[in-house]
Subunit: 412 residues, 2 copies
């Protein structure tokens, strides 16, 4: 008789953003009022850049005629896109990455969730806490954690990030095998400095760990002090996989295109001590279990890696960064501790109360959706995340509603 | 120190179609001659249906303006598409499937590869042999097989399908937990009858197995004797998951859109004997590790489930079935045993010689690519698969080249 993968039963609740969507829907259906404004899930709201739209329309033209039709493409992405990524994201910054180290996919969510398949069951995973829940949830399903006990999964090395250390990135205090790091960070909005990443790379090389570096918010960085790729750090290509996405940069959340870099220099041993190329392993995984991204979407993505495309990305991300500045200005009027909103679209606020309670209070009193920090890990408790991905008028309206509540509860 | 998932080392070779593409590329670069014609990988060649193209262009229009922009959609697909699938594929055939049992994805390859995650490590898997290699490869990576010994993975229940039984579908001769069945079959082209599927469902209900039913070629069926969905069989919704795709029906190989049905009635026990809804488990898997299909592609897919869309699918599949008829006609002139090519785009030929040798012989002597049967499993040895997914003129040219070789080697 068939039995299920019992690891699913360890998952402590439904996927965070599904749960929020469901709570908001239920609340809204029972309570009439002004339209609910979401500063919750980090979903872009501006229209798709015109260059991406035009590239897609042109590509659909190709698809309509048998002579220019494109069927199955390479699972790892078309050369035209991989080369454009290499040129725009790496060579232009003097980082040495080749096109055959780039794997195009349908999302950084998919890649950061699937990458754990490459590693043994005994892999000891570590992650900054709070963090994007997909990293730990995918490892729970994959059987690399123990049970959910007292708000944590047994066996996972959580690296608590809090106001005590100003929400800066820290290293594990024990040797580990796999470390997930996201910078600019979701949810804290912290951005890793060159020195912090250098320490991370040194740590990984020292204990033979692999870093999964999620750079999905890299396009929000405006200060050259902060690296836009982990490969700007010497020897990172011996220990780090980098995931990036067009979702937050070019507004592709509804188009689904991302890429992961697995450098050829990244070698990991098998149980018998023989070294293997992780790039080759990921290629085998992708060719076996994935069939590539739609051709018109790869064309749209390639358009965004031209100089004109980069200018459109700059304009889009500037818009959201301006939102963040407006949100920070209100918080500055309160006694609340917060981080982020500079070089990052998220603002992380220490509300010092149960985060789901705060979520519900703001939903009920202001009809504004934020994300409860507990959903990002045990150290997220007591915090909420505000997303700057919203239309300006929504941000302004939301802040008008939040203002009296924040000033009353957190007077300066 | 990090170590890899050793199960990758069990995989006996690279993914079949990547290996073929690489062998053909190497051969072509070293041997000048007439253009190579591929009757190998089952990739469509006709242009994208106009309805799909128009729906995508309209959807891109939506994406360009903030007021109609669509960002993250539901991971399991938009309601408009799930409802269209239910109406067109199930209700119209008096099959009772609800929209909340439909999960839209980027491909039947992804779904058939990922579905094994729902089941315990101890799951005993069975499959018709030969079969689409993704079923077994995904289970190898997932650790549900032993080593590759004498052309088989230990622990897998292979159900040999051969000319002895006219390539009909058979049942395992032992109880199993998970059975993969593809009808119309890839690679044999056999189509399961109502009676064969009834026996399969009875077997699964009897031993508590789950059926993974891959119906990706369902749109090629022209005879009502053959069910187009396994749910046409009573009680199949208690034991079967059905995967389907727009790749082969609507020419979406380069657009990536598919769907999987996990009925609410499908319950599977955990290690402690408590029943769980597989639908809920798959929803959790998809919301955690996947972020949905691009909005314009879901609009294109929905257009194909209208009556006009179904007419365009009929026209496309008729074209490929005509190719199959032409290929069968040549084979009828030879002494070769073969199956398929009726209600199916593949023709499976018993060449009674090493299948990779035959592949190379046809590549060298005719510059025609076919698929070596050994790539589909141990019982595929001695066979080749010819795909009818090609332009008519390519099929005609390929057959002109193959004709003297086939008639010389397999005289009637």
């Amino acid at each position: 008789m068939t039995t299920i993968n019992n690891n699913f039963l360890k998952l402590n609740s439904s996927y965070l953003f599904s749960r929020i969507a469901s709570e908001v829907k239920t609340y809204d259906s029972k309570n009439a009022g002004a339209p609910i404004i979401s500063l919750g899930i980090g979903d872009v709201t501006q229209g798709l850049p015109s260059l991406a739209g035009q590239a897609m329309v042109d590509a659909i033209g190709d698809m309509l005629s048998p002579s220019t039709f494109r069927g199955y493409g390479p699972e790892q992405g078309y050369d035209f896109l991989r080369s454009a990524i290499v040129q725009s994201q790496y060579r232009s910054r003097n980082v040495d990455i080749d096109a055959d180290e780039i794997f195009v996919s349908d999302g950084a969510k998919s890649d950061t969730a699937n990458i754990q398949e490459l590693f043994s069951d005994a892999t000891r995973i570590a992650m900054n806490d709070p963090v994007y829940p997909v990293y730990v949830d995918s490892n729970v399903i994959g059987g690399r954690t123990g049970k959910w006990v007292d708000g944590r999964y047994e066996g996972v090395v959580y690296i608590p990030i809090s106001s005590k250390n100003n929400y800066r990135f820290l290293l594990p205090d024990v040797p580990v095998d796999l470390i997930y790091v996201c910078s600019p960070n979701n949810p804290t909005g912290a951005v890793a400095t060159k020195e912090e990443l250098q320490r991370l790379v040194d740590f990984a090389l020292d204990c033979g760990a692999v870093i999964i570096y999620d750079a999905a918010y890299e396009s929000f960085i405006r200060d050259p002090r902060f690296p836009r790729s982990i490969y700007e750090i010497p020897r990172a290509c011996e220990c780090a996989i980098e995931c990036n996405s067009l979702s937050k940069s070019a507004g592709f959340t509804g188009l689904r295109c991302a890429y992961t870099v697995v450098p050829k220099k990244l070698q990991v041993k098998d149980a018998e001590g023989t070294s293997h190329s992780l790039r080759d392993l990921w290629l085998r995984r992708q060719t076996t279990k994935f069939n590539g991204v739609a051709y018109p979407i790869q064309r749209a993505a390639a358009a965004m890696f031209t100089p004109e495309g980069q200018a459109q990305i700059r304009e889009l991300t500037d818009y959201y960064l301006k939102n963040a500045t407006i949100i920070r200005a209100l918080l500055d009027e309160t006694s609340l501790e917060f981080s982020g909103g500079l070089h990052a679209p998220y603002i992380w606020i220490n509300v010092k109360q149960d985060s789901w309670e705060c979520f519900r209070m703001l939903l009920e009193e202001a009809r504004v959706v934020v994300t409860p920090g507990a959903g990002f890990g045990p150290s997220g408790e007591g915090h909420i995340r505000i997303s700057a991905f919203a239309m300006r008028e929504s941000v302004v309206s939301a802040l008008q509603r939040l203002r009296p509540i924040l000033l009353m509860n957190w007077k300066k």
